[in-house]
């Protein structure tokens, strides 16, 4: 798989905030990150999308200084920090994939402590902590111990801790994984607001819809390699012209697909489940002949839905990873998007 060269070049006039060149990291003979190169622009919401184990967290760990690259270079805000990650840590806010605040401290104390790590004076950090608790809807729980917070509250407080010192770049590692729908929505809204306020955001996720909804540009990472970087609009472009239809049938979809393919050679048919046929075409799809044909085969059409081109299709097309695999990961993570 080769990265599209045109995709690396910044699409707008903004300056690059992160510049990564040929970054590689190996663990016990396994290449977790394999010669990746990309740039994140100032004020951009950049998505890093891939299945579990693709190298998303390793990339964040390298960028933030928790892991050392085996080769390659990286610059953050113009600072060469491949060997000196501490040089840029004051610019960063980091929200790891698991909430990692202090369970024995209250929400307020946790935020104040995190602010103090960045040298914020007492009066300023207390005011900022109160402001964030209010913004993140945690004011009522500010004196409660972090260990007593719900998963969604923990996630929100972890994000608040990540931005307490007003970082120029925020790393969000799978921020909505494993939390309930309402909390995930709230977090997505907060991300949008942070982005609007001008924060550069590096965002990893394995939720395709989430990346599509939030990000300006997305990098697809699979087995440690970036296979495509582009704006969401450009990624969806090839799929835009295509028309797609999902037909639910009472009989075996796989059997019908073969017959439909012979009868309608200008359409593409795919059995997406035992009772669902996906129809794709560059032209408009007239449903009546298809329904008639299926019914003549002794099957019944129970539903026909026109499909909007999605990033999921693009992802599957580019990476070859089946949608089912990603869905299973969602279920495994306990996500409820």
């Amino acid at each position: 798989m080769r990265i599209q060269e045109s995709a690396i070049s910044p699409p707008r006039d903004r300056l690059p905030f992160i510049e990564v060149t040929e970054l590689t990291k190996r663990f016990d003979g396994i290449t977790a990150v394999d010669r990746i190169s990309f740039a994140v622009l100032q004020g951009e919401l950049f998505g890093f999308l891939g299945p579990n184990g693709a190298g998303k967290t390793t990339t964040i760990n390298i960028l933030t200084g928790l892991a050392r690259p085996d080769s390659g270079t990286m610059k953050i805000s113009g600072l060469e920090c491949t060997r000196k990650p501490k040089a840029s840590q004051h610019l960063m806010g980091i929200v790891p994939d698991e909430s990692n605040l202090y369970p024995e401290l209250s929400g307020f104390a946790n935020l104040c402590f995190c602010a103090s790590l960045y040298g914020m004076p007492k009066t300023e950090r207390r005011a900022r902590a109160r402001e964030l608790l209010e913004t993140f809807g945690l004011k009522e729980a500010s004196d409660r111990k972090f260990s007593a917070y719900s998963k969604g509250m923990k996630r929100r407080l972890t994000i608040a801790a990540g931005i307490i010192h007003r970082p120029q770049i925020l790393f969000l590692d799978e921020p909505t994984t494993g939390i309930d729908v309402a909390s995930a929505r709230q977090i997505r809204q907060l991300i949008v607001e942070l982005h609007r306020a001008g924060t550069t955001i590096f965002f990893t996720t394995h939720y395709i819809e989430e990346a599509e909804r939030l990000c300006e540009r997305i990098a697809f990472i699979v087995k440690g390699r970036i296979v495509r970087i582009d704006t969401v609009t450009d990624l969806l472009q090839p799929a835009q012209g295509k028309k797609a239809l999902l037909i639910s049938v009472s009989n075996s979809a796989a059997d019908l697909c073969g017959k439909l393919g012979t009868a309608f050679p200008h359409f593409e048919f795919q059995a997406v489940s035992s009772a669902q046929v996906r129809v794709e075409s560059a032209e408009a799809i007239n449903i009546s002949p298809l329904v008639r044909f299926i019914e003549n085969q002794g099957a019944e059409v129970t539903e026909a839905v026109r499909l909007r081109p999605s990033l999921e299709d693009v992802f599957v097309h580019i990476t070859g990873i089946e949608m089912d695999a990603m869905r299973k990961e969602k279920e495994k993570a306990g996500g409820n998007q």
């Binding site: 200084g65 928790l66 892991a67 050392r68 840590q89 401290l105 402590f113 103090s116 790590l117 801790a161």
Partner: protein
Amino acid sequence: MKRGIAFWNIVLKDMRAYYLKPPNISWGLIFPVAWTGMFFIKSGSGFESILTLLPGVIALSILFGTTSMLAVTVTFEKKNRSFERLLLAPIPLELLMLAKTSGAVLFGVANAFVPVIIALFLTDLSRVAWVAVFPAVVMIAVASTFLGLFVAVSVSEVFEAQTFSNFFRFPMIFLCGLFFPIDSLPAFLRPLSYLLPLTYGADILHGAIHGKNMMPLGLDFAIITGFCLVLFSTSLRNIHRRWII
């Protein structure tokens, strides 16, 4: 200034969250006091033996006070990933680890004076060379803390930290000349005594409290300082090697 704020708040957070909690007070204070009581009763020599027991009790109080929590808390914070927060803060690793250990050092120093205060009511301490006792207490606290740090960064699990620190702590009670002179140990055990930092700290205390030290105090101070430097730099190297992979 910014680093100073970070340093002080790490110390303060650790003191509040760990060192001033009842389990630590019980492990750090009651345990050495119980040992002392046992030696005191066993010696059967009355209050005059307090001066000879005091160096051992001080050293033991510091050792257990400092290591009881540090080894566990660092491992615990590493395990629940809150230690990553500290590693991601714009603070040099050396300063961060000094902040992380300062709470334990302060607690160890405070612990050392509990038996001293008790002894004040039971015996005459007018001939004690406090000018040597104070730096000795600080050096023992620093060395013991760094030993705890060394243990903490060498293991992955909290229970391993406890086991590993006991592996060092309990033999030290007998091997470092706290209650029995090193000369009275079997010859094959004596070399081990000289490999342990507490031996030199205890020797300073014996010299300062009842005038019976084995080595010149300057040499004791130099060796214990050497132990501190080796333990701290080894721990930093281990953090670099094991935690920033």
